[in-house]
Amino acid sequence: MPRTLKALLPAFLVSLLWAGTSPAPAQDAALLAKGEYLARAGDCIACHTAREGKTFAGGLPMKTPFGTLYTSNITPDPQTGIGMWTSDQFYQMMHNGRFPDGGLVYPAMPFASYTKVTRADSDAIYAYLRSIPPVKQRNREHDLKFPFNNRSLILGWRTLFFNEGVYKPDPTKSAEWNRGAYLVEGLGHCGMCHTAINALGGSSESQAFEGGLIPMQNWYAPSLTSNKEAGLGDWTIEEISDYLRKGVSARGAVYGPMAEVVYNSLQYLNDDDTRAMAIYLKSLAQGTSPDKPVAPLPSAESSLLLSLGKQIYDRECASCHGAQGLGMPPHYPPLAGNQSIQMVSAVNAIRMVLNGGYPPGTAGNPMPYGMPPFAHRMSDDEVAAVVTYIRTSWGNRGAAVSARQANELRAATLN
């Protein structure tokens, strides 16, 4: 292992390497604060900290269709962390997805997004990560299936899906829009979930932000470009900002993987950056989207489903979400006209009924209201009926849901 070799280097050589690049103490505080802020924007902590583990010491198992990856230690420990890395090497990782020895990084590390990060921002994050307490914890070997355990395959992936390059501002757009685009496409790495992942584990730029099922997690990351999914064209900037930073808004709340993003990352962004992201996200929305499929159920069966669904809804759901699905926003989200409920994929709506959920506790919403789980109280037929009712009532235009779909999602990984 290259890192073992490096560990043999005498310590003085390390300090020699650093002597030229360490910033003067005066600018330290500002640089470190900037680096910490940007590390939040990049949500480094979510993957590089294991449950009950030391911050940034890695070791979190990440299940992928190709096997399990274990995240790495990014504390400044010289032997087991990135303490021996130079700022050039750190930038090479962020920008080009290569280890200091030139080795290829698995694209679970979102370098295809981080490549857009400027050198100055990368250096700030680097300075911050140098300042945190070092943790001696050796990285765990990845557990990948053949042939994915062959790192040279990453070359193929890179040819297909990786475009190296810092974000280039669009001169026809405002500074705010460009700042938002920089954050969303770069550090925010939103495209990692909100762009469909194909069988090769890559996402195509031509389908950017068009949504997709997140592999292994079984949550659907809605399209950010279609107003019929999570396209934000008809949301106000305030609603989008609330959603991103507080985790709740007049239009809906965040659950599942997005709750993690708000909890660990977005809630810490300042007003200007949140607003910039909101402006950019709103602009992504396109006026039209593909037509809905026609409800596949025959009408007699579907009316039976709907009457059972209404019965369950009135008994279990209406006290919070209202008989007309208006909810009590922001804490009890509206269901009528809620895009996330009408999407072609019914996965999220079914999972909310099965598993319930809490939006994240944030500075802007420190005491969130929770949705109860119903998995243990409702049969597959009942779940299908109530989700179908919600997806087709009050002007909602979603398709019916089958008991089989509900049943399949009972086995979804919860966390």
Binding site: G322, H376, N415
Partner: protein
Amino acid sequence: MTVLLRTLPIFTLLVSIALPVGLAQAQTQAPPPERAPDTMAARVLACASCHGADGEGTSDVYFPRLAGKPSGYLYNQLVAFRDGRRKYPPMNYLLDFLPDAYLKQMADHFASLRPPFPAPAVPAVSNDVLARGQALVKEGDPKNGVPPCSACHGQSLGGMEPAIPGLLGLRANYISAQLGGWRYGTRTAAAPDCMQIVAGLLTEDDVKAVAAFLSSRPAPTDPSFASRGSLSMPLACGSQPN
């Protein structure tokens, strides 16, 4: 932490005053929507379908009563579920992104409730087994170094502040599942993990006897827990610093 807890309600109040202004502008439909009740009970409705609206428990024998257990105990469990130390995926998932301060408020809420106890279980075991359970609960098994439950959980078995739970109002299946979890190391607490030590000294028959006896106890006349430090504990416990 205390300062933070005290300022939270004020902050929430400010937020809830500030929000309707934005909402009113955002709503295109005529009537302004209702607001969710600003109560803990409304916030923890997510817990109700398994633990009851007042934390009294439900008909499912594996979902425990929460009401009236000392807040420190409930808080420790909430943190343990959030951080994955205690493993039950539906709980781990629900608590994943809730901060300490809020978990403390949830714990305080359920600790303050006193809903009626369920009717005691009719024991499904022989009188001998029940007697063995009673002996373990009240006198322990000195020969094998097992302290009585009552030494830490109180004579009335209502628990002790801040972090030792009451043992009444729970079903036999739940109690034996927990003791089993301690014995096999699937349930752990902060070191020194006193319950792991105690449960490790019990046999499977002991567990069955203790669970049967505890679940057959009538509701306590005084459903409160012992005050902090009022019992001198036979073992050091990481989650109950004295």
